[in-house]
C-alpha cells in the first residue's frame, strides 16, 4: 500500500531481525516509511515492537538486515520522562542542545519555545519532582522536539498516564505533528490512540515481531482542535472499529 519512492523515504528497513540469545524478538521486517508520515505500531505486549523502535533509533543493533534513513536529527521519547532530577525544567529541555554545543543563550531560548509548544510556559524554573506525571511527560516531549527532529520515535509515551491526560497529550502531539511535520513513529498498546494519532498503523504478530497488517487509517484529523468533540469521537470510534476489524482479519 505504500508507494513512496526511495528518495521520499525517510526510513527503510530491509529484512531487519533481532535476536537476544536464542530468543528472536524481531523477524525479518521490511518497511518503508515516508518522510513526514505518522505511523503507529501496535501488537501484543512483549512482541518486539519496542525492540524494532529502538533499532530505528540506533539504540539497538539489528542481528540481520539493514536500516537506512535519510540524514536528519532523530529524537527518541521514552516510556518514562527520564528528566534529570537536579535540573530545572528549562535546563532539562535544553539538554540535547547543550550536548551538541549550542550556545547558552540560544539553547535556553529554544528550550523556552519548546516548553511553550507543550503548554508548560509557567514551569521553567520548576524541578521534575514538583510536577505531575503528565507535565513531566510533556517536558520530555519538549526535550525531544527542542532539537527540531526530522524523525521522532515514541515508545508508549503516554501509557503511564490517566485517560484524560493521555487524551490531552495525544491531541497535542497530533497538533504538533500537523504543524512541524516531522516523521513520527509511535509504539502503543491502545487501538483508539493508534487510530487517533496515525495515518498508518502497522500490526505486529506475537514474538517474534512480524508485520501482519499494514493499515491506512482514514485521515480523520486535519486539525484535531477544530473538530467538535462529537465529530471527533465518532471519527475515532469509526477508525478504531475499522482497525480492530483489520487486526482480527489479519489474525485469521
Amino acid at each position: 500500500m505504500n508507494s513512496n519512492t526511495a528518495t521520499m523515504c525517510s526510513l527503510k528497513l530491509a529484512g531487519v531481525s533481532r535476536a537476544f540469545g536464542a530468543v528472536a524478538a524481531v523477524d525479518s521486517v521490511n518497511l518503508s516509511l515516508a518522510a513526514g508520515s505518522f505511523t503507529a505500531m501496535v501488537g501484543p505486549s512483549g512482541c518486539g515492537k519496542t525492540t524494532l523502535l529502538r533499532m530505528m533509533g540506533e539504540l539497538e543493533i539489528p542481528s540481520a538486515g539493514q536500516i537506512s534513513r535519510t540524514s536528519g536529527t532523530v529524537s527518541f521519547c521514552f516510556q518514562e520522562p527520564r528528566l534529570l532530577p537536579w535540573r530545572t525544567l528549562l535546563e532539562n529541555v535544553a539538554l540535547p542542545l547543550e550536548l551538541t554545543g549550542v550556545e547558552r543563550h540560544e539553547r535556553l531560548e529554544r528550550a523556552a519555545r519548546a516548553l511553550a509548544l507543550v503548554q508548560l510556559d509557567d514551569a521553567h524554573t520548576r524541578y521534575p519532582h514538583q510536577l505531575s506525571g503528565g507535565m513531566q511527560m510533556r517536558a520530555s516531549i519538549a526535550r525531544a522536539l527542542v532539537s527540531r527532529p526530522q524523525l521522532l520515535l515514541l515508545d508508549e509515551p503516554f501509557s503511564g498516564l490517566d485517560e484524560i491526560t493521555r487524551h490531552e497529550l495525544d491531541a497535542e502531539l497530533r497538533a504538533l505533528w500537523e504543524r512541524e511535520r516531522f516523521t513520527a513513529i509511535v509504539v502503543t498498546h491502545s487501538i483508539p490512540e493508534a487510530a487517533f494519532l496515525a495515518e498508518r498503523v502497522l500490526v505486529f504478530s506475537p514474538r517474534p515481531a512480524r508485520v501482519v497488517a499494514d493499515i491506512a487509517t482514514p485521515m480523520i484529523v486535519r486539525d484535531a482542535r477544530a473538530w467538535t468533540s462529537d465529530a471527533l469521537a465518532a471519527c475515532v470510534r469509526e477508525a478504531s472499529t475499522a482497525l480492530l476489524h483489520a487486526i482480527v482479519e489479519a489474525r485469521r
Partner: protein, 270 residues
C-alpha cells in the same frame, strides 16, 4: 504562607531542634569534666599524670597565643590536605570508573595502600618532602583520600542506566556523560565520603605533625603535644588535644552543613 516565610519558619524550627539536640551532649561533657575533677581531687592524682580541669583552663588562658597559633597552623594543613584529598579523590575515583579493567587493577592497590599504617610511611614522607608543611599535608591526604575515592566510585557506578541510555541517544560524549550525568548522580554518595574523610583529615594532620613538624614560634598542635610530653607538661598536652579536637570538629561541621545545602538541591524528588 509565602515561600520565604516558610523558609524562615523552617530555619527557626531547625535552629530550635539543633539547640535541643545540643542539650544532651553538653550535659555529658559537663558530667565528664565533673567526674574528672572529682577523681583527680579524691585520689590526689599528681598533676603530670592528670591535671585538673581548672589547671588546664588556666594554662590556656594565661598565654593562649602559642596554642592559638598552633591551632591555626594545624587547621591550615588540615584544610589544604582535605581539599587535595577531595579533588584528588573525586578525580581518581572518576578515572577508576572509566573502565572495569582499570578499576580491577588499581582499586585493590589503593585498598592495600590504605592498610599500610600511616606511622610506618610517615618517616618516608619526611625523607621525600623534608620537615614542615608539605610532609604534613601529604600525611593528611594519605589518611583522608580513600573514603572519597571509594564513595566516588560507588556513586558513579550506581547511576540510573535509563539516564545513561538517554545520554547515549542524545549523542553525549564520555566527558559530557561524566560531568553532566555521572558526577551529579554521585553527589549524594561523594558527600558521604567527604563526611568520613573530614573526620579522618585531622587525624592525618596531627600524626604527620608528630613526625614532620618543625618547632619554633609557629609550632602546630601536634608539635606542641610532643614537646609538652617531653617536659611532662601534661596540662599543655590537654589543651593541645582539646584544640585539635576543635579543628576536627570544625572541619566535620563545615562539611556537614555544606553537604546538607548541596544535597537539598541535588536530591530533589528522590
Amino acid at each position: 504562607m509565602t515561600p520565604r516565610a516558610s523558609i524562615r519558619g523552617a530555619m527557626r524550627a531547625r535552629i530550635l531542634s539543633t539547640m535541643r539536640a545540643c542539650i544532651g551532649p553538653t550535659a555529658t561533657i559537663v558530667t565528664a569534666i565533673a567526674a574528672w575533677a572529682i577523681f583527680k581531687y579524691s585520689f590526689s592524682v599528681k598533676d603530670f599524670m592528670l591535671p585538673s580541669p581548672l589547671g588546664v583552663a588556666r594554662v590556656f588562658l594565661e598565654d593562649p597565643s602559642p596554642f592559638l597559633l598552633g591551632m591555626r597552623e594545624t587547621a591550615i594543613s588540615a584544610v589544604i590536605g582535605f581539599s587535595i584529598a577531595v579533588v584528588g579523590g573525586v578525580l581518581l575515583g572518576s578515572v577508576l570508573s572509566l573502565s572495569r579493567t582499570i578499576e580491577r587493577s588499581v582499586y585493590p592497590v589503593t585498598l592495600l595502600f590504605q592498610m599500610v599504617p600511616l606511622v610506618a610511611i610517615a618517616p618516608l614522607l619526611v625523607i621525600w618532602c623534608g620537615f614542615g608543611r608539605p610532609a604534613i599535608i601529604a600525611s593528611t591526604v594519605i589518611v583522608s583520600i580513600f573514603p572519597v575515592i571509594a564513595n566516588t566510585l560507588a556513586g558513579l557506578r550506581a547511576r540510573d542506566p535509563k539516564l545513561d541510555e538517554l545520554f547515549a541517544v542524545l549523542g553525549a560524549g564520555r566527558l559530557a556523560c561524566w560531568w553532566k550525568l555521572a558526577l551529579p548522580s554521585a553527589v549524594a554518595s561523594i558527600v558521604t565520603g567527604l563526611r568520613i574523610s573530614a573526620g579522618l583529615a585531622t587525624i592525618g594532620t596531627i600524626s604527620g605533625e608528630f613526625i614532620a613538624a618543625e618547632g619554633g614560634p609557629r609550632a602546630p598542635l601536634g608539635m606542641l603535644i610532643m614537646t609538652s610530653l617531653r617536659q611532662f607538661q601534661t596540662d599543655r598536652v590537654f589543651v593541645s588535644v582539646a584544640l585539635a579536637a576543635c579543628v576536627g570538629f570544625a572541619l566535620f561541621g563545615f562539611v556537614s552543613v555544606a553537604s546538607r545545602v548541596l544535597l537539598a538541591r541535588w536530591t530533589r524528588g528522590r
